[in-house]
Symmetry: D2
């Protein structure tokens, strides 16, 4: 039986690998974080943004939401879902809502500001989110676009709640 720390790392690797396979790199998420937080965290750079994203991607409840959502996207692509669910996923039915709920749950782990940030980028389809939402590719990203938006929003929440550590980074150039 793997330890808690081992599971955490295993889930993290699983997520990063799957995000990448589906066209989402850390720098794409960092770009959304910088778009959202630039005027609040002066000096925010990609390194710090990715550091915050990694904090999120190591949080167990966040990992669970992300793994579950990506799983459903992949299963839908493989045509492995029951007829009604397959239909919902293929049409990306606007009243489905489970994708958004998972994203809200994830972002709310980092406070309510994260939820409004998620809502904002989700509507804007900013950056990589626009590409993920492009139905012409044949890929099914019902959950992925919401989750990526929520990961970015959660990372913003982490930044907003860790001012001291960020000030240290700007003073020393070191993280952790």
């Amino acid at each position: 039986m793997p330890s808690d720390v081992e599971l955490n790392e295993q889930y993290y690797q699983h997520i990063v690998r799957n995000l990448s396979k589906r066209g989402v790199e850390m720098k794409d998420i960092a770009e959304i974080v910088m778009f959202l937080e630039k005027e609040y965290v002066h000096g925010l750079d990609e390194k710090l943004a990715i550091y915050a994203i990694n904090k999120v991607l190591h949080k167990r409840e966040a990992q669970n939401a992300i793994m579950t959502g990506i799983e459903l996207d992949i299963l839908a692509e493989k045509d492995l879902l029951s007829a009604p669910m397959e239909r919902i996923m293929r049409t990306d039915e606007s009243t489905y809502g489970v994708d958004e709920n998972l994203a809200i749950t994830l972002s709310s782990l980092y406070g309510s500001v994260s939820v409004t940030n998620y809502g904002y980028v989700d509507k804007l389809k900013h950056g990589i989110l626009g590409k993920l939402n492009d139905k012409s590719t044949g890929k099914i990203n019902v959950f992925l676009d919401d989750l990526v938006g929520a990961i970015a929003a959660a990372a913003c929440g982490w930044l907003a709640h860790n001012e001291t550590q960020i000030a240290d980074y700007f003073a020393t150039g070191k993280l952790e």
Copy 2:
């Protein structure tokens, strides 16, 4: 393309059929509703409880949560999930939380009282919930037990918010 009303009915039938296949009948959920609400709704009987449950099972956001959760249970039983997800589902990992989040989302559609009611029966493992939670059967009900508790709790919420209609029922014996 089916109409909204047709989809609603189709999802409803899909859910009732799947609940039944997995050992959950309407009367099992009604029993939880009566256990929870007996002292608040005097005269509450199985007919009224099932009426309230049917209201919940026709609400689209509730349908979506239920269909998604049951789907994941079935896929895990068929061994169709990725390794980390399969492991989580087979061990019913206590920190998973997506099952409970889906249930909280469902119950919160009917107000916050429904969420506390869900939490209560989930901890108690009342009635059918105890059976669903029994790991010795080999069935995977990671989502199902939470969803059934949440459906019951949501039905209680419907009862709490529809006093006038209930009074009419007690006066006339008729529903709707």
Copy 3:
């Protein structure tokens, strides 16, 4: 003891009166609804938008959230809160979050799409929200801006879930 229906109407009047006193008219909220939904509900006019808003303002859980938030704004303006709370309200502390949580709870009554819509207008400070957020007026609107955004978002959720009734309206010009 007033009946449920009487309380509902009383709370509705209390809310509309307080919104107006604090500079928010029904047409201001309708403007946000139209901004958000124009491309999804073709033919959406102010009359239908206000109809949807009134649906929200008659829902008890929505009423409770709105009344509570406005109350706290008024009490802060009257200097009736304890020192730490007074400080939080006067500085509109960015990590406070209870205002946003109340708004998320309200909007989530109408599905997760409403939550993303709320997040979107909250960030944009669209229309009346910009005025409410203007600190130079001396007014305290810590909760009001979030609540108004959430009411509009919830009304959008109502519209998204009541296509049949809306089609009837466009066909007959009549509501209800």
Copy 4:
């Protein structure tokens, strides 16, 4: 302008003082934590329970929810609320829900297990919660009973997510 760390400590002291004034001591909350977690965390004692509670009481979003709820109870006792709100608070109206929503928000900061734990003790009126809910005392604890339940549930969530630190405590007798 006080620093983030100073504010945190100030809010913590404000909360502990107000809980105590209203009849809630740390050991009362610890008793609920031990009731909930005894069979999951073997060896759980009051010291560790209070340590977990203090973690919760230092988390900003938790502090904000607690301060806001207690404030409303105190204002209602002083008769400072508007007529409809005063009526809701004095009758502890069952459909109010903002008290439970605040508690759900607080507990969900520590994962969904915390929400079901909160729902459970809220229904049971376990320990101090029964006393807080006793209307015969003339005190208004509309928010306090829910918040205390949520603080305990959140502390359980902290325990569930910090196994390594707890194992260290059992090995060394030292915390932090």
